[in-house]
């Protein structure tokens, strides 16, 4: 039979020589190999303290964005829910009352906004669909909880910290991820 590659090697069935049957040289060789591994670089990343650097297009958990003055951007238009292939997003709209201008950017806002993180497939379609730049995939990941209902993230989980009151937490939640690197144009 013709070999497909030149990598095939005939198995040697030769009886072992006396030297090989001593096994000790082979054992010493093996021990030298394991010893050399002491000096090898360890590939482990000490996870909670250090994290792997993400690609600029990494898609983590969603956050609901605020503008520079700390007002919520979401208008509860529902485009993200429509775009969501996993049907993970639900929301309820409400009208902004006079005096709430410092809280919500537009006249309409999301009174309830829920993403089921067990359903979410982190495709990023919600981010692409959003005309207001409100929903945004962050660099946070690995949600964990003891109960299923804990994976349904409400507004208090999703909303980004206030940029003026908690600037550090805001910057951390926002991360360094570049949004829409390909330029889908939805934000304009």
């Amino acid at each position: 039979m013709k070999a497909l590659t030149n990598k095939a090697e005939v198995v040697s069935r030769k009886p072992m020589t006396w030297w090989e049957r001593m096994y000790l040289p082979a054992i010493l060789k093996g021990m030298a190999i394991t010893f050399s591994h002491i000096f090898k670089k360890k590939p482990t990343i000490n996870y909670p303290e250090k994290t792997r650097p993400f690609s600029p297009v990494f898609r983590g958990l969603q956050i609901l964005n605020r503008d520079e003055e700390g007002r919520e951007k979401c208008t509860a238009c529902g485009l993200c829910a429509v775009a969501c292939p996993a049907e993970a997003i639900t929301m309820e709209a409400a009208e902004r009352q006079p005096g709430e201008e410092h809280l919500y950017k537009e006249e309409k806002y999301a009174a309830k906004y829920e993403i089921n993180m067990l359903r979410c497939i982190f495709c990023g379609f919600c981010e692409e669909a959003c005309p207001k730049d409100a929903v945004y995939l962050s660099e946070t990941f690995a949600p964990s909880n003891f109960q299923r209902k804990g994976f349904i993230y409400g507004k208090d989980d999703l909303l980004i910290p206030h940029p003026l009151e908690q600037p550090e937490a805001f910057a951390k939640a926002k991360g360094s991820r570049t949004k829409h690197p390909e330029g889908h144009g939805n934000e304009h």
Partner: protein, 354 residues
């Protein structure tokens, strides 16, 4: 009067016993940590690193975990023997420490205190006797569990230890012919500032080393606890601290057999390339004793590392391979070694010059 007790001796021996026992316990404790660290490093991992700096508190965490586990004594087991098993394993493991010379002597309160618990003139025979008793711990534990796998593991351990003890003993006979004494202290003394016995008995040492691995039930000879064949081996039914005792006894055995090997073949507490007698005169007996103790400890640590290094390099033997190696290779080799040693000694005594 024979019954007059010298209280000073009593106290000094008591302190020595307590420190040797607690010392070997602590070292065994930290061997578990080092074992995991060495395994990790040899496999390009990091090993325990969470409990304390560098995971240094890991053995404490492990011990606590074992203490808080539920203690299960199987219904069909023989209860007395079930408890006796780990106790015996632990006891015999600790008893070896009594005859090992941990140092020459220290001078305190106008007394010369020998750093050996008991300098009995048949020291090495005592070691052998105690080591052979160690198999009872495993055998009784495995038998009392009333479990097929435990019993199989125990049987394996017993037959393995008995077969390898033979080769070990014969290898040792050759060494005894060279040194001419059974006392460990005198053996170490004979190596002080002379050639170590390893140079006189290289083949004997190799056989002794292999047999020591087998006696300690370490890989590649850990068939007694071959988990892929026997669930857990002889300690399948054990839980909580009784299991801990078995695991602990293995590490104490490792530590003390390293100590025995160092004393027999590597000059014990002899500092290499240094004239120990002159050193003791120059810096005082006590400082010399401390230095010698450190050197002994260093040698022991090397052997502990060797145990671990081999464990994470070589896979386990098959049972027939194990028996072949023991009976068909090591024993004839040991006999050959004994014969050659005897012949050489005879020739030397008859003034044949080489």
């Amino acid at each position: 009067m024979i019954l007059a007790i010298d209280w000073a001796v009593f106290i000094e021996k008591f302190i020595l016993i307590v420190s040797v026992v607690s010392g070997s316990l602590v070292i065994a404790m930290y061997s578990t940590y080092v074992e995991r660290k060495v395994a990790a490093v040899l496999q390009d991992r990091r090993g325990p690193s969470r409990a304390g700096p560098f995971g240094i508190l890991q053995p404490l965490a492990d011990g606590l975990k074992l203490f808080f586990k539920e203690e299960i004594i199987p219904n069909f087991s023989s209860k007395f023997l079930f408890i006796l098993g780990p106790c015996l394993a632990m006891l015999t493991a600790m008893m070896i420490g009594a005859v090992i010379p941990w140092g020459n002597k220290i001078h305190l309160f106008d007394r010369d205190i020998s750093l050996q618990i008991a300098d009995i003139n048949i020291g090495i025979l005592y070691v052998f006797g105690v080591v052979s008793m160690g198999v009872y711990g495993i055998m009784i534990g495995g038998w009392a569990s009333n479990n097929k796998f435990s019993l199989l593991g125990a049987l394996r351990a017993a037959s393995q230890i008995i077969s390898y003890e033979l080769a070990m003993g014969i290898a040792l006979i050759a060494l005894l012919m060279v040194t001419g004494t059974l006392s460990l202290k005198e053996m170490v003394g004979g190596q002080m500032d002379h050639w170590w016995n390893i140079f006189k008995q290289p083949l004997g040492f190799l056989i002794f080393l292999i047999c020591a691995f087998a006696e300690c039930n370490r890989t590649p000879f850990d068939l007694a606890e071959a988990e892929n064949e026997l669930v857990g081996g002889y300690h399948t039914e054990y839980s909580s601290m009784k299991l801990g005792f078995y695991l602990f006894a293995e590490y104490i055995n490792m530590f003390l057999s390293s100590a025995v090997m160092v004393s027999l073949y590597f000059g014990g507490y002899d500092i290499p390339f240094v004239n120990d007698v002159n050193l003791a005169e120059n810096i005082g007996t006590n400082w010399a004793a401390i230095l010698q103790g450190l050197v002994l400890f260093g040698k022991i640590v090397f052997f502990l590392f060797l145990f671990m290094w081999v464990r994470w390099t070589i896979p386990r033997f098959r049972y027939d391979q194990l028996m072949n190696l023991g009976w068909k290779i090591l024993i004839p080799l040991a006999l050959f070694n004994m014969l050659v040693t005897g012949a050489l000694i005879l020739l030397k005594q008859n003034n044949w010059h080489f």
